[in-house]
């Protein structure tokens, strides 16, 4: 033990530097593994869209036809039944992510949250003596969270009841984009105008920076500046809700019509999906709709982009990692060789070859172990991702083991090939 202590004391700086190199090598390995996992998740998410046939549901209720249709309260129920049956159909996934600005009272001073900020249009209006800003917002169904990678910095996703509108409901949960964090905190209450109705928007979560969702028009709708609302279905028939509540019919009309802009994702072909929805048409008696073979360009672009990115990550990370692995090996080898002269002095002092071998191995084993452990801790703390913790621990252990074997072989080889007598004589 005294020999080990003396050896370590003799080269504190070098030990520290080799420890640092070992630490950085381990961090590179762990980050590589975490990143491959992340890129896998990203491509899996894009594949979900890519593997489906995508159709867009749309209505023919435009202008006069819309006014005529909604003159009869029963038609609200017909449209509602149609929406509900499409949503419940197990052969299609109803995916609804629609841009729908809302009015926001006591809005943040930063104009980027306003709906038409990028066009530099005025977005402020007055209602009952208060000022509201037309604010970027999206209504989303639960499937949007199922099919996209939207992680939350804090809070929680909408629970199932959030997606249902009940009579007298005055509060809607909202998830805010990351840019809202300086202005609001969890459980804050926002006063919003949603389809001309006043609601309290209770903040239940904040999306992580640069979270994005797929929409029919935009492959990546970035959520940083958006307020997410649940896309609500109705707990009762709209005709009953209209009687029970004082809510303006415009609210129900807008809610029902907005669903008609949804996407149908399915394995069925165009003919089959039309037949499937045709069955719903027969049952509900709603005929003013169309199913359009939705533009798959957005999905293709998203998929190709993520695929390109994955290739980029695997290629670059692979090449760089192999280089770093070789460099690290060379430095370990060179470190042992350089220190060999010091070990020879210990041989002169009567320390055996076996003792020296054990000392060098122990030294590397401890140094590498500490570095790998620290690197693992730093990676987990920094990434805040424990999903592949077990893989990281196994990888760390394998690296530790491999380098122990390498050091063992190197030291054996050095002791076997060096003529110690000649070395000590100075030849």
């Amino acid at each position: 033990m005294n020999t080990t202590r003396l050896l370590l004391k003799n080269k504190k700086l070098l030990t520290l530097i080799i420890g640092l190199l070992s630490f950085l090598f381990s961090v590179v390995l762990f980050v590589l593994l975490v990143n491959i996992n992340i890129s896998k998740i990203e491509i899996r998410s894009a594949s979900k869209f890519h593997n489906y046939n995508i159709y867009k549901l749309t209505d023919n209720l435009i202008g006069e036809r819309e006014i005529e249709f909604f003159k009869d309260v029963k038609n609200y129920d017909i449209l509602n039944n149609f929406n509900n049956d499409v949503f419940k159909n197990n052969k299609v996934v109803f995916y609804h992510a629609v841009l729908q600005p809302i009015g926001l009272k006591e809005y943040p001073p930063d104009k980027k949250f306003s709906a038409y900020y990028e066009s530099d249009f005025n977005n402020i209006y007055e209602h009952e003596g208060a000022f509201y800003q037309i604010t970027k917002s999206m209504q989303v169904t639960k499937s949007v969270f199922d099919y996209n990678v939207v992680e939350l910095i804090e809070g929680q996703y909408f629970d199932d009841s959030a997606y249902v509108y009940e009579a007298g409901r005055k509060e809607i949960p909202v998830i805010l984009g990351s840019d809202y964090r300086p202005y609001y905190k969890l459980h804050d209450q926002l006063e919003v105008h949603h389809y001309f109705e006043k609601f309290i928007g209770r903040v239940v979560g904040f999306a992580k920076e640069n979270s994005f969702i797929f929409t029919n028009n935009e492959p990546q709708q970035v959520l940083n500046r958006y307020i997410l609302l649940p896309s609500m279905s109705l707990s009762e028939q709209p005709s009953e809700l209209l009687q029970k509540t004082e809510v303006n019919e415009v609210f129900f009309r807008a809610l029902l019509l907005s669903k008609m802009g949804g996407i149908l994702m399915t394995n069925l072909n165009a003919l089959e999906v039309r037949k499937e929805i045709g069955e719903i048409e027969k049952v509900t008696n709603f005929t003013d709709y169309q199913i359009i073979g939705a533009n798959s360009l957005a999905v293709d672009l998203l998929y190709k982009m993520i695929e390109t990115n994955q290739t980029l990550i695997v290629t670059i990370s692979g090449v760089v990692f192999i280089f770093i692995l070789c460099a690290f090996y060379l430095f370990v080898k060179s470190f042992i060789k350089r220190q060999f002269d010091t070990y020879l002095v210990f041989i002169m002092s009567g320390v055996t070859n076996h003792k020296i071998k054990k000392t060098i191995q122990l030294e590397f084993s401890i140094l590498n172990g500490i570095s790998i452990g620290l690197a693992l801790l730093c990676t987990v703390l920094f990434m805040q991702d424990t999903t592949i913790l077990s893989i990281l621990i196994i990888a760390g252990f394998i690296v530790w083991l491999v380098f122990n074997i390498v050091v063992y072989l190197l030291v054996n080889n050095l002791l076997a090939t060096t003529n110690i007598i000649e070395k000590l004589k100075g030849d």
């Binding site: 700086l13 070098l14 530097i17 080799i18 640092l20 190199l21 950085l24 090598f25 961090v27 590179v28 980050v31 590589l32 975490v34 990143n35 992340i38 890129s39 990203e42 980027k112 900020y117 990028e118 066009s119 530099d120 990678v149 640069n210 994005f212 990546q220 970035v222 940083n224 500046r225 360009l297 672009l301 190709k304 982009m305 993520i306 695929e307 390109t308 990115n309 994955q310 980029l312 990550i313 670059i316 990370s317 760089v320 280089f323 770093i324 460099a327 430095f331 060179s334 350089r338």
Partner: protein
């Protein structure tokens, strides 16, 4: 006895580490360039703004490299492009050689029907960017430096280096504008892509530490010879010259050769800007200066101690 001492191992290792750091810096900028392409050829530090003026046209008179995009808010997919000749365009498959007059490049999924008949005749190629928002766009590349504001009042300015806001003010000195805070799209916002940059940064740090170890080894191995030469009666500057000068000359030769190779790489495999090149050369230069100072300090300190430790 050798007149000068040169460690070929040290020089070879230094050459390898210089090449590695330059490669890593190039890869980092290549990733940014890929992100720029996928984001519709909008760089991370691009400036987005809307011009408010009564004028019908504006003139550009600039020597700095830039790429200015102009578009109408109602039709953001058709962009008018004004460039300084030296800037790099995105990858394009040309059907005909580029014209000396205005021409149009379209994305592979841009509906050509959206172009007028006159415009269609100007199309000479398609963007070769499969995973990019450019696929949905068409670029009208203008050869004049006069901006017709009837084509749109929204602009995006890409610059290769320096402060884009300063260049924008220089471009439109007496014009009122509204800055728009832009958001990235494309591969740049993918978590794995952001992490890739972190991975490359750690790798650069690894190379820097490896460089420090190499320098430490090199200086350490020369301690004994400095001590012997000093004891033999050498003055510090003479023994400093004898032990280190050949190595410094060799290092500077490496610096020059490496810089020339990097210039060639920057020319044949050009990406947006040459930021990586300047950083790589600066890093090599600083490393050599650092090595020089470390050697000087070691010699002086040994002489000052009177080589007591020997």
């Amino acid at each position: 006895m050798k007149k000068y001492i040169v460690s070929s191992k040290f020089l070879l290792l230094t050459l390898l580490l210089f090449t590695s750091s330059a490669s890593l810096l190039y890869i980092m900028d290549s990733v940014s360039y890929t992100n720029m392409i996928n984001n519709g050829y909008i760089s991370k530090n691009a400036v987005e703004f809307i011009i408010n003026t009564e004028e019908s046209s504006l003139d550009i008179d600039l020597k700095e490299p830039y790429l200015l995009m102009q578009y109408n808010l109602d039709n953001p997919k058709l962009k008018y492009i004004y460039i300084n000749k030296s800037v790099k365009l995105p990858p394009i498959n040309y059907n005909k050689p580029p014209l000396s007059t205005d021409y149009i490049i379209t994305g592979t999924v841009f509906p050509e029907g959206a172009l007028s008949k006159n415009m269609k005749s100007l199309v000479i190629g398609q963007f070769a960017t499969p995973g990019s928002y450019l696929n949905r766009e068409a670029w009208y590349i203008s050869k004049t430096q006069q901006i017709n504001l009837a084509n749109g009042t929204k602009f995006i300015l890409n610059v290769e280096s320096g402060n884009p806001y300063k260049l924008m003010q220089k471009m439109f000195p007496n014009t009122s504008y509204q800055l728009i805070e832009n958001e990235d799209r494309g591969t740049a916002i993918l978590k794995s892509n952001v992490l890739l940059n972190g991975f490359l940064l750690i790798s650069v740090l690894f190379v820097i530490i490896a460089q420090a170890v190499t320098i430490y080894y090199s200086i350490h191995s020369k301690k004994t010879i400095v001590q012997i030469l000093y004891l033999a009666g050498g003055k510090w500057h003479i023994l400093f010259r004898k032990v280190f000068i050949a190595e410094f000359i060799a290092l500077f030769v490496i610096l020059i050769l490496e810089s020339l190779v990097l210039i060639a790489v920057n020319h044949f495999y050009a990406i947006w800007g040459s930021h990586w090149y300047y950083v790589a050369v600066f890093y090599m230069f600083i490393t050599i200066i650092g090595y020089f100072l470390a050697c000087l300090l070691m010699t002086k300190s040994l002489v000052k101690k009177g080589v007591r430790s020997f």
